[in-house]
Structure formats: structure tokens, C-alpha cells
């Protein structure tokens, strides 16, 4: 049922534009992506219980497989619409999930830490399932051609949101671990979580990735807008909220090294900041902005 829900939107995309072979390919890739993320999740859970290098490597390999498979699914979709998938909910959410996976993979490789993998891959599987359940059954309409600068703007901003989502997950883990440590009655799960310092460093790395991507994405968006209309649209709610997001995450990075905020308070701040990201990604996109409203 869940699998059906996930692949349903792809099955129903614009059959007149996609050839039989392409449709089969996308259908197949959607199944494959979900299966690989699911298998990777199981392996990551396994290493939480019994750490084994071989299973850990397999988990990473399966995640890489899922990312590659989803990349080709997104590529196929991009070929249909001749654009980065941003103007429909399914494409946008799928791109978000893919970038979340890519960001996590980067952090895992950089920090050599797999104990977070189970939580991230669970989020990926849930996200893929959710996007299948909530997307509407509408034919895929290609957006107007907007050029590569715009494509980079969209991709980088989505990447920033994905990185912030990752820092959100890590912050929640930090808070849970801190609570268990403070209770002095750590249960079974406690020993499976990564150390506080590790979570903190990974969360900060993720926020750095998000900030750099958001800055670059915003700059490209402003340049693109200026080229198009000669102005910058500073009053657009999306621009305002993006600047606000930049400000709160910079504040997090500064405060997280201060005496009073370091630790659980900073993690709570980071988790709270994500509310703003979600607000921007959903409510602002859907109801407030003029030219950032896509679906």
C-alpha cells in the first residue's frame, strides 16, 4: 500500500509526453529508490544494535545506491519538463529528499560517523512515503524556461533546506541524549545514540552547509531577478523570510559557542529555527509570496 502510494504520482505523470520505456524506467527507479533507502535504514539500525564494519559499509553503499537511483529518477523528470523539478510538489519534495541524502552522505564521510544514519534514512523513507500520499493526481506541466542561473538558485535553496532539516534531526537527537544523560537513568536506547560532541559537531557542519547554500542560492536568485526586471524584490515575503533564516542560523552558530548557550540550549535553538524553514517552505510558498509560488 505504502509502496503503491509512493510510486503513484510517477505512474500518473503525463503519459503523452513520456514514452513507454521512460515511464517504465521512472516507475522502476521509484521502487528501487524506496527499496534501497529502506534496506539502508535496516542496515543502519542493525549497526546501532551490533556495530559491524561490514554492515555499516553496506548501509552506506545502499544509501549511495538510493541516492544514485533517485538522481536518475529526478533526471528523467527533468528531461520531461526541461527544468529542475521545483514547480510541482512531488518534484520539489523529491529533490529535497535527494539533497538531504546527499548532505548526510557528505557528513557521514567527513565525520566518519554512521550512528546517525538510522535516523536520517528513516526520515528519507518517511518523506518519500509522505510525498506519495499527499501529492495530487495532476498532469505534469513544464514550467516556463528560466535558464541555468534560476536552476542553480532553486537547487541551492532546496539544498539549504535539506541541510537545515538534517541539523534539525541532529538537534533533536542531541536534546534526547542530553535528557537521558541528565536523568541519570539511561535506558536501552541511550547506548546506541552517538556522543553529544559528535552530534553537536555534525549539526554545526550541517548548518554551515545550509548557510553557504542559502547565501549562494539567494545571491543567484537576486541576480536572476535583477536580470529579468532590473530590481531585487526586497519586499517579497520569501526574500524577507530567507534573510530571517540566515540571521537565525548565524545566531545559532555564534551562540552555540558561548558559555550560556553551548549544548542543549543551542540545540533547542537550532531545532526551533527549523520551524521557520518549514514555514518558508510551505506557508510562504503556498500563500504569501508572489513569484515564489509554484504549486
Amino acid at each position: 500500500m505504502l509502496l503503491f502510494a509512493v510510486v503513484r504520482p510517477i505512474q500518473r505523470y503525463n503519459p503523452s509526453r513520456a514514452g513507454g520505456a521512460s515511464q517504465f524506467m521512472t516507475h522502476y527507479l521509484a521502487y528501487l529508490t524506496l527499496a534501497l533507502y529502506g534496506a539502508s535504514f535496516l542496515c543502519y539500525v542493525r549497526i546501532l544494535y551490533t556495530p559491524r564494519l561490514g554492515v555499516g559499509r553496506l548501509a552506506t553503499l545502499l544509501l549511495v545506491g538510493g541516492i544514485v537511483s533517485q538522481y536518475f529518477a529526478l533526471l528523467e523528470r527533468s528531461r520531461w519538463i526541461h527544468s529542475v523539478p521545483y514547480n510541482d510538489l512531488y518534484g520539489s519534495m523529491s529533490l529535497f529528499a535527494w539533497l538531504l541524502g546527499v548532505t548526510y552522505l557528505g557528513l557521514e564521510t567527513f565525520h566518519r560517523q554512521r550512528s546517525v544514519g538510522a535516523f536520517v534514512t528513516l526520515l528519507l523513507v518517511a518523506w518519500m512515503a509522505l510525498l506519495g500520499l499527499i501529492t495530487r493526481n495532476e498532469p505534469l506541466v513544464p514550467p516556463p524556461a528560466r535558464g541555468p542561473l534560476f536552476a542553480f538558485h532553486v537547487t541551492l535553496n532546496t539544498w539549504a533546506y535539506a541541510a537545515f532539516a538534517l541539523s534539525f534531526v541532529l538537534s533533536l537527537m542531541y536534546l534526547a541524549q542530553d535528557r537521558l544523560l541528565r536523568s541519570r537513568r539511561p535506558g536501552k536506547t541511550f547506548w546506541r545514540f552517538p556522543a553529544l560532541d559528535v552530534i553537536d559537531v555534525m549539526s554545526r557542519s550541517s548548518v554551515y552547509v545550509g548557510l553557504v547554500a542559502l547565501c549562494l542560492g539567494a545571491i543567484m536568485g537576486l541576480i536572476w531577478r535583477h536580470r529579468l526586471s532590473g530590481g531585487y524584490s526586497w519586499g517579497d515575503p520569501k526574500v524577507i523570510i530567507t534573510l530571517l533564516i540566515l540571521a537565525v542560523y548565524i545566531a545559532y552558530l555564534c551562540l552555540s559557542r558561548s558559555s550560556q548557550w553551548r549544548g542543549a540550549r543551542a540545540a533547542l535553538l537550532c531545532a526551533s529555527n527549523f520551524v521557520l524553514v518549514m514555514f518558508s517552505y510551505t506557508f510562504v510558498n503556498l500563500y504569501l509570496t508572489r513569484f515564489h509560488r509554484f504549486f
Binding site: 544494535y49 551490533t50 556495530p51 559491524r52 541524549q177 544523560l181 541528565r182 541519570r184 537513568r185 539511561p186 535506558g187 536501552k188 541511550f190 547506548w191 545514540f193 552517538p194 556522543a195 553529544l196 560532541d197 559528535v198 559557542r257 558561548s258 558559555s259 550560556q260 548557550w261 553551548r262 549544548g263 542543549a264 540550549r265
Partner: protein, 439 residues
């Protein structure tokens, strides 16, 4: 009365593994001390056992909690277990009346299962302890180098090492800390991750503090400072562990430096107050401090527990964690037993194949013996048969024997069902009187 599993068997197989010994469950420490083997004694014991023909292969496993003698008997009869026990008591000069049920005897699968349980750490005093696997490996290595092992014990001990590794990697029997000192260090790792590059302050120079220091050192802690009321004791411990001794008067000035604080100071009243720790945290720019208070009465003021970024555990907190971990380890025993059962079955299958080969060889030997006797007898009455014809008859009868044995050999080696194959081996032995032949 020694416990004996050998008496339960009716059809003893030809390849047997026997064990005699005692452990912390069957014998008090006073008895275990008397039957312990030094490495040198272990070697002379195995030499003696082999020289006397009691065992063909032998390994001695002697630790502080057990003293066990594993072997493959040279002759399969009822007496080998008695002979092993006699040797054991004679070697250590213990009167038989002192045994009082303290020795256990196991043979075959029971002996192998016992060894696998030892390797898995589920027969240990501290469930799941890791040291036993190293001790077992060392005992086997010593016997192997000495040439005291053979194909059977090599197989059994290599299997035991594999079981030990699998149980520790696939179950949580040995996963969680079971001592206060280790629990404290493991908790510190939950805060800082890798302890390399971190610093620790040890207050007190007693036995518990030393245990903690050992665990911290084995995890590569960056710097270690030892503070004690007696500077001499602090210096002594610091020297031993490669740390730095600090004078008691300087305690306040160094309290802000370490990531981990371990206190185990006797005497009344807290040594570290909330105000001191507050100042220490401020000096560290809020970086977390993990403090373990092993002192009774407590060395850290209880009000300090509420300080932000201070994780404080006292001896009761750690005791409860150790108890939780013990229960968690116990819950893993069935999974460990399943791995052990799997490996015992593997050993049984290997033994069945080996026994099948051996019985076929015995049968072939018996047939050839009969053939030679028959040919000698019959050909005596046939003087007109030429030597070439005699050779031809010989070759034909050889071929006949090989053809007769071909199918049973194949079925015994590769037939389905271990139990069936072992049954067939026993039946063949019985039908052809192979045991009698041996005797």
C-alpha cells in the same frame, strides 16, 4: 561426586573430546588456587598426559576463575574419564576426598558446548567479560606451539574462538559496562565521543580511582592530573599512570581545566562545591564537564547536579546503570546460546564426516584382511594357478571390495541428516564388530 556426562552415552563415538575441571561455580577460591596451572605446569601436564597415553591431544585452560583440562582420549573406554580425574588430582597432589563434587566432567558435544560457552563469556563470573577469550586464545596458542594439539582440538578451539567473536559482535552479551569504573568512563564517552585529546582530573588515589585511570588511559585520554590529600600518594599514582600530581591546595585552580572529573576521596563533607564547579564551567566557556563521584560520603555537593552542562553521576547512579546492564546482558543469553548451538552442530557434522571416513578405512582394512586370508587359504589348494593368474584374482577381489565400499562411503560422507549418519556409523561398527577388532 564429580558430574559426568559420559555415563549417559551408550554408543560412544570414536572421536571424543573430554573435559575435566572446576570453575567459580563448583569450587571456592581456596580450591581453585590449589588446582591452578602455571603456563609451565600446563605444558608439563599435557606432556605427561600424552606420555601416559591418557590423551592424544590436550589443552589446559587455567584462569583465576577456572582450571580445565581438554583432551582427546587415546583409547575409547569407560576408564579414560577416571584416568583424567586421577591425573588431575595426582598432578596437584589433592586427596580424592577433597574433591567433594567440585570437578565436572564432560565429553563430546557437552564438552564442546561448555568450551563454547566459556569462550562466549556466558560461563564467566562477570557475564560477557572479554578477557576470557584472550586467555582461551593464549592457552590454545601455547598448546599449539608445543605440538600438544591435533586435528580435533584444533577444530574445537578454533570454533570456540569464532564463537567468542560472533557472540560479542552479534549480541550484546558483552556490550555494556559491568563495573562502576568502566560505566563512568563509558558515560564520559557518551558526552565527548572519543576521549583522545580530552583531559581528566582524578581526586583520590585509591583502588577505584586507579581502575578509572586504567580505563581512561586505555582509551587514550590526553592529559591526566591526580590530586590527593596525601601528595605522596598522588605522586605515586601519577607516576604509575603517566599523569601529573597536583597539590591539594591547588585543587581550585585546576578544577576548571578537565573535561572529566573522577572523585573517590574518603572522609566527611563534599570536596567540590557547587560554587567551585560553577566557576570551573565559566572558566571553560561553558564546555561540558562529566563528573563521576565515587566517594561515600559524596565528594561533590549534590546541589551541583543542577548546573548547566555539568553531568554528575554518583556511586548509586552508576550502580543502577551496572544493574540495568547486567539484566540487559542476561536477556542476550538466548541469542548467544543459539550461536553456540549452531557451532556445536557444525562440530558434530564435521565429526560425523571424520568418523565416516574412519569407519570406511576400518572396514576396508577388515575386508582386505579377510581377502588376504581367504586367498591364501584357497590358492594353497590350487597349485596349477600361475603367478599372473594369482595377481589377476588379487586385483579382481580388490576391485570387488572397492565397489562394495563405494556407495556406503558416499552415503556416510554426504548423506542427509547428521543423526542418521552417526547412527549408520554406530550400526556398521556394531555389525562388523569393528570395536572388537580393535581390541
Amino acid at each position: 561426586m564429580a558430574r559426568d556426562s559420559s555415563s549417559q552415552r551408550t554408543d560412544a563415538p570414536r572421536i571424543q573430546v573430554a573435559l575435566i575441571g572446576c570453575n567459580h561455580r563448583t569450587a571456592p577460591v581456596e580450591f581453585r588456587e590449589r588446582v591452578a596451572f602455571t603456563p609451565q605446569q600446563a605444558l608439563s601436564a599435557v606432556d605427561e598426559l600424552r606420555r601416559m597415553g591418557i590423551l592424544e591431544e590436550a589443552v589446559v585452560l587455567s584462569t583465576c576463575n577456572r582450571s580445565e583440562l581438554y583432551g582427546v582420549p587415546g583409547e575409547i573406554d569407560e576408564g579414560f574419564a577416571e584416568a583424567m580425574e586421577k591425573f588431575f588430582t595426582d598432578f596437584h597432589q589433592i586427596p580424592r576426598r577433597d574433591l567433594n563434587g567440585r570437578l565436572y566432567r564432560w565429553v563430546d558435544s557437552d564438552a564442546v558446548r561448555h568450551l563454547y560457552r566459556v569462550a562466549a563469556g556466558i560461563d564467566s563470573m562477570m557475564l560477557g567479560e572479554a578477557e576470557i577469550l584472550g586467555q582461551l586464545r593464549a592457552a590454545y596458542g601455547q598448546a599449539l606451539d608445543h605440538g600438544a594439539t591435533g586435528p580435533v582440538l584444533n577444530r574445537v578451539f578454533q570454533g570456540a574462538i569464532e564463537v567468542g567473536k560472533r557472540v560479542r559482535s552479534e549480541t550484546e552479551v558483552g556490550a555494556r559496562p559491568m563495573s562502576l569504573a568502566l560505566a563512568g568512563v563509558k558515560l564520559a564517552e557518551r558526552v565527548f565521543g572519543n576521549l583522545k585529546g580530552h583531559s581528566a582530573l582524578i581526586l583520590g588515589a585509591g583502588a577505584v580511582a586507579e581502575q578509572v585511570v586504567e580505563h581512561l588511559r586505555s582509551r587514550g585520554i590526553g592529559s591526566l592530573r591526580v590530586v590527593n590529600r596525601s601528595f605522596d600518594h598522588a605522586s605515586e599514582l601519577a607516576q604509575r599512570v603517566g599523569g601529573e600530581a597536583i597539590r591539594w591546595e591547588s585543587l581550585e585552580s585546576v578544577a576548571g581545566l578537565p573535561d572529566v572529573i573522577v572523585t573517590s576521596i574518603g572522609g566527611a563533607g563534599p570536596v567540590l562545591t557547587r560554587a567551585m564547579l560553577e566557576r570551573a564551567l565559566a572558566a571553560r566557556n561553558g564546555r561540558p564537564v562529566f563528573a563521576v563521584d565515587l566517594g561515600v560520603p559524596r565528594n561533590v555537593e549534590s546541589e551541583a547536579a543542577g548546573l548547566y552542562n555539568l553531568y554528575l553521576y554518583n556511586v548509586d547512579d552508576l550502580g543502577e546503570i551496572v544493574e540495568q546492564n547486567r539484566k540487559a546482558r542476561e536477556a542476550e543469553i538466548p541469542r548467544a546460546e543459539a550461536i553456540i548451538a549452531e557451532h556445536v552442530a557444525k562440530f558434530e557434522a564435521w565429526r560425523a564426516t571424520l568418523e565416516a571416513s574412519s569407519i570406511i578405512e576400518d572396514l576396508r582394512g577388515q575386508f582386505y584382511k579377510h581377502r588376504e586370508a581367504l586367498l591364501r587359504e584357497r590358492l594353497q589348494d590350487m597349485p596349477d594357478v600361475s603367478p599372473e593368474e594369482r595377481q589377476r584374482i588379487g586385483r579382481i577381489t580388490e576391485e570387488l571390495i572397492e565397489r562394495v565400499l563405494e556407495k556406503p562411503a558416499k552415503r556416510l560422507r554426504h548423506g542427509p541428516g547428521l543423526r542418521g549418519r552417526l547412527g549408520a556409523v554406530d550400526a556398521l561398527r556394531h555389525l562388523f564388530g569393528l570395536e572388537e577388532g580393535k581390541e
